[in-house]
Symmetry: C2
Subunit: 144 residues, 2 copies
DNA sequence: AATAGACGGTTACCAATGCAACAAAAATTA
DNA sequence: TAATTTTTGTTGCATTGGTAACCGTCTATT
């Protein structure tokens, strides 16, 4: 019977590494230790774009709309996020960060960047190769 | 305010790619469409090593013991897996695939290998670089 | 303008999963 | 050998996440 070495199997490895990195990433939340990954993604997206609807956030951060909806509510309850009704389209809610939300963003971003840098540093000369391969991999899957 | 581009952020990208690849990977289950990822990992591990305890399966496939426990039960109910009590240690259950289980394994493995090959092919000359970088990345995180 | 369909967002429901507590059986220590 | 601790594996509980149904609003067709 032909065998397969799970530990060398690409889908398994990619998934495993993603999980490990996400796990370690939680350490960068610092004081905001109870932030979840979906909440972080919403925070990061709004920090990046200032104002957006929930759908656009989901598209930019690869999250299901229910996940976005729940993360948005959590951030709202935390007073990091504010919603206002769009004038053009009253179905849509325009979301943006409050001052407290921007403060949290400004607090987390440098740690996140440092965390990423630490990984890339550990990779040494392989780092640029990895990034290039990831680009390619992403494009491969976007196409179909 | 210093910004971070989420779409270029390494932890996000790794996680996203892992999710996309896993999603696509489901297509290789073929007739066994209702198999879950944890079940596949247990199947793959037992196909690779013939006989193992649940703990060893969890270690080899990076799964929490409760996940293993439940996947094992599901495969057992499917009659793909058999348990027998260990003589040396009566806490442990020695697990192995039944004939049906080995048949399913033999059925899925070639598809899995083809799936992987397709990805590596799409990556072209970047493929070996990616694999090398993944090795490096895995080692980076194993160490601490 | 009226109707039908599409769309943004929320929620009820169910499946999946991790944590903590547990049982049973070693292994260790006294 | 008795008592304590560790280990394997399962299960109850709470959390998380996706599917589908839904509400209100917008758009297109007539």
């Amino acid at each position: 019977m032909k065998k397969l070495a799970l530990e060398n199997f690409l889908p398994y490895r990619l998934n495993r590494i993603g999980a490990v990195v996400s796990q370690k990433f939680k350490s960068v939340y610092g004081a905001h230790h109870d932030l979840t990954i979906p909440e972080w993604r919403v925070l990061a997206t709004l920090g990046q774009f200032e104002e957006m609807g929930a759908k656009a956030i989901g598209q930019h951060s690869s999250m299901h709309k229910t996940k976005v909806s729940r993360a948005v509510r959590a951030l709202e309850e935390r007073r990091w996020l504010r919603r206002r009704e769009s004038d053009q389209d009253r179905r849509e809610e325009i979301l943006s960060l409050t001052t407290a939300g921007r403060r949290a963003y400004a607090d987390i971003v440098p740690r996140a960047v440092a965390f990423e840098k630490q990984i890339l540093l550990a990779l040494g000369s392989d780092a640029t190769k990895l990034l290039a391969s990831l680009d390619r991999l992403e494009r491969t899957f976007e196409e179909n």
